[in-house]
Amino acid sequence: MRKTWIAGLALALPLALAACGGSTPPGTAGAGGATKAAGEAIKIGSLHPLSGSSAADGQQMDNAAKLAVEAINAAGGIKSMGGAKLELLSADSQGKPEVGQSEAQRLIQEGAVSIVGTYQSAVSQNVAAVAERNKVPFVIDVSSADAILAQGYKYSFRLQPSGTVLAEDGAQNLFDVSKAAGKPAKKIAILHEQGPFGTAIKDTFSKKAQSLGMTIGPVASYDAASVSDFTTQMAAVKASGSDVLMVAGYYRDGVLVANAVKTVKPGVNAVWGVANGAFDVPTFPGEVGAAGEGFFDSNYHLDGTNPDTQALMKTYQAKYKDQIRTAAVLSYDAVRVIADSLERSGSADPTKVRDAIAQTNLKSLIASKGPITFGPTGENEGAAPILMQVQSGKVVQTFPKEFAQTAPRYPATPAS
């Protein structure tokens, strides 16, 4: 008896809810939200992993996108469209490609003129295809996989430097910094996570490093989701006599690397992160203590020398009681890019916005070699990594000179 009721309810409830929850509000129906009635807010979709294992970054990125919208609205909205206000539609990808895909679809149906996202490369791959097929621009804040823009998509743009740029510049920075210090790097041991990100960085970095005359020592990969110790790998590094340890990985494993370096003392001149998810994160020095002292990371990074960035850091700290990370600054930049394009196109038609984005020329809050401009494939041509180092328990910018807060300390034999 009772069970029938429950069964009926279980069956009916989601369906009924889906019927009302899923339907679009009248007025925004129709693909892509073509033209806006005057006074109606222009919608921008923000799609990030708000839950799941990357929630820390995802929530920061969503917060920063919100801050950007607030800032633009406070400054008078989109002036070319009569001061039209922006509205941010937040969505949770849960870090899953298929959820990201259907959420992107939903954002577009609800009238988003552009989407900002998504952090995980696998999710971005999916969303890029959705954006392309719906002809709605997709501004990637963070996702490094080269493959995303290698599809020839017209509607996808990427702010962060691609994996190739990150890895090549990472090797170049190592070459320059070690040479300037009078101890040119010779033999590089590599430790990388086995996903697409770590593997691609390893491949490109090795090629570039070899072309610069360095040799590659032992290479070890690991599963970032399950690894729990690096002492064996570190012993192998130590035994190989390598003078630099390059690490391409995420936060949790980066912490384990630092602990293993401290325990085994592999005797390298430097631990050199390339696009490492840990070594330039503000919480990293606090978490590993002295173990992380001297660690380098060649990575895209917020520009701590830029007053606008400093202001954003303060605002974020005040509002969210947390230190803003680079990923979130990129989300902030992404919303700025869209607002700027709306301003120039004077239209909320996604295809016009797309054309305007392609013509972007905007100063970034991220350390870069030039303003944000997009190349033919949609890569940000201004994007370039800079070199950070943990010095006295803080992550500081050290190279190239124009972004340096202090000079790099090399060699920086860790945990000595």
């Binding site: 069970k3 069964a7 809810l17 839950s51 490609p97 149906q109 696998a122 959705v130 086995q194 996903g195």
Partner: protein
Amino acid sequence: MNTVTDQSPDQSPDPSTAPATEPAPLPRPIWGRHLLVLAVIAVVLVPLPLLLPPNTQAVAVRVLIFALMAVGWNIMSGFGGMFSFGHAAYFGLGAYVSVWLLVNHGVSPWIGLLVGMLVAAAFATLIGFLALRYRLKGAYFALSTFAFAEMLRLLAINSDFVNRAVGYNVPLRPEFSLAFMQFAPGSPAYFWIALGLTVAAIAVSILFLRSRTGRFLVAVRDDEDAAAAVGVPVMRTKLVTMALSAAVTSVAGTFYAQYYFFIDPDVAFGSSVSIQAILPAVIGGVATIWGPAIGALVLGPLNDVTATLLRNPPAALSFLEGRAGLDVIVYALLLILIVLLLPQGIYGALRDRWRRR
């Protein structure tokens, strides 16, 4: 309504506790009526994508993919009682084989679909043979299927042959084409293809249950020794079942890749895929013909519903707005409640009620 399923597969009847009172008679199997119902449902659903708001259509397609996976899982683990916790292996093979053929050799996904079915069936036969040869049962059998799926995932991650962890993008075509299963975004064709595949899968499961092998399978599930004693080839029955189950699930993988345009080892072979194949069947009713589809109908939108509700909560609950993770909490609670309160699944509970009338 269907004779196969009054009991969960691994509860073997204990004669000493069998009730002395006469149980209600089981209705005769009416396969024809099942097929008829299926045909009517299929026809009724055809105009659906033209009626649904466009963003709901993505949910409808997801429901069908869930259903397809669960129908496949249900053949082996429901009707066959061989609990698989590794159907990601077959889903992933379907996805990878078809995409590999498409990207590297320009082969139509329709052909890839067939090749994927064959490869998945062959793989299932192989691991099935090993697991049965070594007489793995219950949780051990389940863990072995899980281990094989994980090994495929790790192999894919470490093989240049399939692009390692990078996976594949399905190339977008300049023009839309039925031959390459690619249509305009939001085109009802996606729904119709998914519907066709799902209806075909359910029809296959009905016909299979009616077939000689299908009826052997139920006997083997109920009592393997007794089935062997009357001459049922136990091993062959189980292997055929596993192969069929794998082939059906691989179809879901092929369609998934064409609909979502992207696969990588985690998306294709990850353990969450195996769970997605199990969930709808258990929620809807294990070892029933309609359970997997009903379960998918409930689970498919559930995520969106909880997310939507919490994004724009009713006034009374507005303090919950924007709390990340809350939607997943609600989802998890609903899941636990449904499984606890309806151990037979939704269809199972409804059917028991009808029968008692």
